[in-house]
Amino acid sequence: MTGRNTKTLWLALAVAVALLWTFLPMYWVVKYAFMTKTEIARFPPMLYPPDPMLASFFNIFGFDYTTAEGTVFKASGQARQIILGLRNSLIVALVVTAITTLVVVPLSYVFARLQFPFKGKLLAAILLSVSLPPVSTLIPFYTLYVQLGLTGTLFGLIVVTLTITIPIVAWMLIGFFRNLPPVELLARVDGFSRLYTLTRIIVPMARSGIMVAAVIAFLFSWNEYVYAQILVTGSNAVTLPAAMSGFLFQVPEPAQLAASLLLSLLPPFCIAFFLQKHIAEMHIA
């Protein structure tokens, strides 16, 4: 065997390990979603669903499911929470994405392209809030929210989620804006105002970066669990991750938990799929 072939072999092996590492746990969840409780409890574990069925997906939306043989799978007790959670998660994620993008585009532009006093210190402040673990602000937020009556509200959750998304997305976009060519010079010679330059030249130029930033904001909001668990669990403002965690405190329903997990994976998966091109562009820039 030549040296080159050995190298290819090792590379293939490394890729295989990486794929297995990433996809095996996901596969396990996918598998559960299509199995019955008894099948899941079997030892040694079954490598694939012997008789794939969709019962869990009906159950989590509050429907009973009857198989051809007449077995009935009862609707999940968590169904109301799941449906609410799905709706709330979407609302929160969309609102957070919109606000984050609107705030962060001008903010990052200013930090990336203009000079002003205390810029370095303000930038360090943004960086600091990125590195702050959410848990550290959890208790202060909670006491504040209790006093303000904001616990269990979508508004409160949106505000808190923005404190996570704005710094991290700004941090990303600042780097992206820095790498754009200095077209402001061209724009000044062409007689355009600063606002026109930002909205009509920079934004279209940076649209792939901005789109990726919006996606990141959406995903952070969609995946946010810690604040939701403390601030909105059990209320009408519950989000999907918090609603799913409800499965952990009841009679175990691993198939339903897996089905709702798959449900929560769906939007991020679709987004990643449709935005591949832009994400790739972002890495080049």
Binding site: P181, P182, V183, L185, R188, D190, G191, F192, P204, M205
Partner: protein, 364 residues
Amino acid sequence: MARIDLHNIVKTYGSHHAVENLDMTIEDGELLVLLGPSGCGKSTTMNMIAGLTEPTSGKILFDGADVTSHSPHQRNIAMVFQSSLLYPHLSARDNIYMSLKRSGLSKQEINARIAHAAETVDVTRLLDKMPSQLSGGERQRVATAKAIVREPAGFLLDEPLSALDASLRLSLRAELVNLQKRIRTTMIFVTHDQVEAMTMGDRIGVMRKGRLEQIGTPTDIYNRPATLFVAGFVGVPPMNFLKGALEKADGRLWLTNPSLKMEIKGEFANAAPQKEVILGIRPHLMRLTEAGASALPLTVYAIEQLGNEAIVICDGPDGGKIRVVAPAGFTAPVGARLDATFDSAAARLYDPASERVLAVTGKA
């Protein structure tokens, strides 16, 4: 088209003096090259002429009117930036169109102007391409079209060719000069490349550390450099320098140093004697000769064959390198002893303290 006057322009950034007390006039329709090493203030000067940077003090006049506080657009200047910057997300046509978007011209007039500008620099067939699809030379042409479409008062170029490869640079240089002569726009070209400056400029302004060292025609700058810096910066191979003393004897002026005693003739014959001077002589004006009293003893260090001539690089008597142009094919072993001579009337004398050429009063 406009005549551009700079009056006592100063630009400081904090305690750093980017440009100091600059006075300069660029005649209507002239191609002026600003030449200097990086950080000499040439780009800052151009940005102030453009209106992109405001001078700390001083005045800028276009055709006699004070435009110091005017925006680039109000001054009606056009500019080509480094690497021929274009809007990356717009086609060549839209890039050119952006120059006229704020002009208030009719759609028809705009289209006619774009077509004319594109034709002038031969980019008509590129108009629908994106900048990323253009080669370096094509980008440069589109950037030029974007500039001339405005029919500007002044056309400013900031090292537009520096990112291109050598052969392309050569042809674009000629293209730009040809264009400038055809449209007769006042053009200012910034570069650190002295060959570019010599070949393109009607006049060259040599800058160093924020000061204008000398301004004049390429011939003037080459033959009569006003300062040691200009003498050393312009010309390939660079000028040779020899240290010595100026002494009067027998009513004549002599340059003496431990290895040379040479009568100074020509324009410096009446210079005042002084202890230390630096004599500058172009390598082309030196000849290799037999050893003699007025010859300079040299040791061969390396020989560069250029095909039409050879450049003999030698260690001079006072440690510095001396270059002598010899006929093509000239060879000598490294370390060989040679002698060189030159006509002192062709040499320039500089004061090492002020770094300026010696003052001469009266005629030789």
